[in-house]
């Protein structure tokens, strides 16, 4: 499997507040741009994988998008693993291609929680809403607290994740947040749900993004110059309810990474740059641990002193991530991974030839990993 498929094209809409745009229209725009980027014809596509929009759940939405694209796919549909969906769909596309189920897959996401409804992120957690147990941030705060108490992870460690992302966003013309951020700014930002502050929480954004997946052979035959090989992928999942996790401080990321590194025949030492799902600052910090870039509990220590900023040993979220580029759940990280391997990032890591990308959904409930590279 390793390297048999590639990401041949990438595309995305503007990010931020896009009033009056339907998710279907955003999916079509992102797809058109990905098709143009790959230099293929729309009619080459015979698979359409779509992430459901959080702002409005509609039955068989994948078919709605395919219809708007004027396509009748051989394989596809809508997938729901929350924020882990995009990389998982890319991996299913790669497996489908490998097994002759399709040849050229479009993987696309669009959502408009900013101008639509953000209800998905603020709902009560079943009967426990009677205790005031509401919203996605609180779930991450529950995990962050345990990590801070158990390992001494500090507010400043979480702040460094936010500051590094913002620093990278400053050179990205597509990033929503362009105001410089310091550790002091982060520490002074309003408390939301302790121990998380406003600047620990990602943006909520409208937007669409898409990628084209095909076999490496086909991309070579078509002379697609900027196709980026998929070296490995994996997934891992745990309980829906945070209270039901036997261990709060280790996530399904460890299982997902083991599968992905195994497929790629690589270790963390082979990775030059990482795009780690940062819906909340605690998430990439724990992903660094679970992926094996440092020991469990050492994530805080790892990120100190600029290690994850451009120029450090492992630059993380070089386009600004969910915290500063856009709140879109995950595809922008894949697109930035592709740019790093192509050498076209606005925060380019010199000589980057292996990038790991993480996606995760729910409250660290679902996880998927993608390793992109040149080798």
């Amino acid at each position: 499997m390793r390297g048999n498929t590639v990401i041949a094209g990438i595309g995305h809409t503007a990010y931020g507040k896009l009033p009056g745009r339907s998710t279907t229209s955003l999916n079509v725009e992102a797809s058109r741009k990905a098709i143009q980027d790959a230099g293929i014809d729309k009619s080459d596509i015979d698979a359409v994988f779509v992430k459901y929009p959080t702002s409005s759940y509609r039955m068989m939405y994948g078919q709605t998008v395919a219809e708007a694209l004027g396509l009748q796919p051989r394989i596809g549909g809508v997938w729901d693993q929350g924020g882990a969906t995009n990389i998982s769909m890319i991996s299913y596309a790669a497996m489908a291609i490998e097994h002759g189920q399709c040849e050229v897959a479009l993987v696309t996401i669009a959502d408009n929680p900013r101008t639509g409804t953000r209800q998905a992120y603020e709902r009560g957690w079943g009967d426990d809403a009677v205790y005031g147990w509401f919203g996605t941030p609180a779930g991450y705060a529950m995990i962050a607290r345990r990590h801070m108490e158990e390992y001494g992870t500090s507010c400043a460690d979480l702040g460094e994740i936010a500051v590094a992302a913002r620093t990278h966003a400053l050179t990205n013309p597509h990033a929503q947040l362009k105001r410089p951020l310091t550790l002091d700014d982060h520490a002074a930002s309003p408390a939301v749900v302790d121990p998380l502050r406003r600047d620990d929480c990602c943006l909520i954004s409208d937007g669409g993004a898409a990628v084209i997946v095909m076999s490496r052979k086909r991309a070579a035959a078509r002379g697609i110059p900027s196709a980026v090989p998929i070296l490995g992928f994996g997934q891992g999942q745990t309980s829906w309810d945070v209270a039901q996790r036997p261990v709060l401080t280790t996530t399904a990321a460890s299982v997902s990474a083991r599968t992905a590194f195994g497929m790629a025949g690589m270790t963390p030492a082979d990775i030059d740059v990482a795009q780690l799902y940062d819906c909340f600052t605690i998430a990439p910090l724990m992903t660094l641990e679970d992926y094996g870039f440092c020991e469990k509990g050492e994530g805080g220590k790892f990120v100190r002193d600029g290690a994850i900023r451009l120029g450090g040993p492992l630059p993380v979220n070089t386009s600004g991530g969910l915290l500063s580029e856009t709140g879109m759940p995950g595809m922008q990280l894949v697109i930035e991974g592709v740019r790093q391997i192509r050498g076209t990032s606005t925060a380019q890591v010199a000589g980057a030839d292996a990038c790991i990308v993480s996606n995760q959904g729910g409250i660290m409930t679902t996880h998927s990993t993608l390793i992109l590279g040149d080798r």
Binding site: E122, G124, W125, G126, D127, D128, A129, V130, Y131, G132, W133, F134, G135, A138, A141, M142, I143, R145, R146, E149, E150, P190, A191, V192, V193, D194, P195, V242, A243, Q244, L248
Partner: protein
């Protein structure tokens, strides 16, 4: 003033909430493999056997983690902030979400004690630090 969201009382969950209305905390135990859990389920999540039994908890537990809401997500909690929500592990094993009372400085794995409480006339759980 909006009332807090009430739990959905179903034939499955009714015994749990009725016991809390009486100030008793209960959990489910598998009649087949003795596994214990919350919240209510039709089947044992370990051996998948049917018809678990309700058992009264001792009321002892420990603090797995907690958060403090500084602003309300739901308007019915506007006058309650700051308030604390915790993950609690009962001595008998089940884990649950509960309110944590402000009687001291919390720390992970601190011993806790169940205190019956009511919200809008509904019996609910709360826990306090057991010194």
């Amino acid at each position: 003033m909006t009332s807090v969201p009430h739990p959905e009382i179903t034939p499955l969950t009714e015994p749990y909430w009725t016991a809390l209305d009486q100030g008793r905390l209960t959990y489910q135990r598998c009649s087949s493999c003795s596994h214990t859990w919350l919240p209510a389920r039709e089947q044992c999540p370990r051996c998948l056997a049917e018809e678990p039994a309700w058992t009264e908890a001792s009321g002892g537990g420990k603090l797995i983690s907690w958060v403090v809401y500084r602003r309300a997500v739901h308007e019915s909690f506007n006058d309650k902030v700051p308030y604390t929500v915790a993950v609690v592990e009962l001595d008998e094993g089940p884990r649950l979400i509960s309110s944590l009372l402000p009687n001291g400085v919390p720390s992970i794995d601190a011993p806790l004690r169940f205190r019956p409480a009511t919200v809008d006339g509904i019996g609910v759980t709360s826990f306090e630090l057991a010194d």
